[in-house]
Symmetry: C2
Subunit: 204 residues, 2 copies
Amino acid sequence: MTKPRGETRARILRTAAELFQRQGYGATGLNQVLAESGAPKGSLYFHFPRGKEQLAAEAVALAGGELGERMASVVGSAAGPRDAVVGVGELLADELRESGFRDGCPLATVALEQAGGDGPISEVCQLTYDTWLLGLSDSLRGWGAADDEAAELAELVLSSLQGALLLAQVRRDTAVISTVARRVASVVVRSLGEQGSGTQDSEK
Amino acid sequence: MTKPRGETRARILRTAAELFQRQGYGATGLNQVLAESGAPKGSLYFHFPRGKEQLAAEAVALAGGELGERMASVVGSAAGPRDAVVGVGELLADELRESGFRDGCPLATVALEQAGGDGPISEVCQLTYDTWLLGLSDSLRGWGAADDEAAELAELVLSSLQGALLLAQVRRDTAVISTVARRVASVVVRSLGEQGSGTQDSEK
């Protein structure tokens, strides 16, 4: 009996993550999550006894963690910082395009609705962004950035790609992501170069 | 009778803009807009016959236009491109802080919920972002940027500040806006310098 229960839980979470990302927290009702996941009535409060807030926090953590892994994989296999930043931009642009411009950042919509609050959903959003930033700045340190510099550059990269993703979503056109990623990649490469570090990636 | 009617309309719009920004489109009901604006029942469909969609489109246009004016005023009174970018960052950080981290971008929450759609609200969001970008790139051209360069730099500035604003809102800390604005300001100054343009603003 354990396995089917786990499958139901996972199916509910997956559906919830998609709906919260596309419609936001406020507009997504638990009945819709149940209906679209095909989960039996009653299973929602069985698996998520603290209700919608718990479901949203876990769904955002799941989707944010998965995107974090895909970004880390791009950065990890990049030849250098320029490829890394451009590659993350391409990843975000591809996913946005393939979803018909519906799936941008899996956190942003819910994060904005929760902004100013301090509940479990806000905490998960903050933790997820911090995890992304930590991964990025670790890689930048690996390419020779000093600690402070790596942290600032990671914030620049994440902020600019996040904003470009939003703009691309509104325009239904990913060109702005490429433009911004290319520009920011140059900033990162130049900044690492100025630190006199040995990076494999040179200005193109 | 015309004046009170105009006042009611303006009050409904103002309340709607605030609620849509903070809660999103889906989570904001017309009854709440009516209650919080203190407008009489029936006045909503009298002033906004096409309902919630019309109200949201006009509210977003109003709030987005006003923020655009405040940004244009900062840019217009800046001594050069560095002051302009840093100044817009300060404006956004101040407004976020003063609202208890509730009021970030007046478009982003609604824009994300509408993403992938093509209704009047999406159109207004797109138009507002384009107007902001046009204002920014006009100023950058005034500081010596070539047309293409000005357009790309405007996209970089807007994207990075937009993303930093979101991150600051989630963290309840505006430091990331200052960091990102300062970094991007340097990119803009350097880029204008590389074009051999005469700018009043030098690298600090």
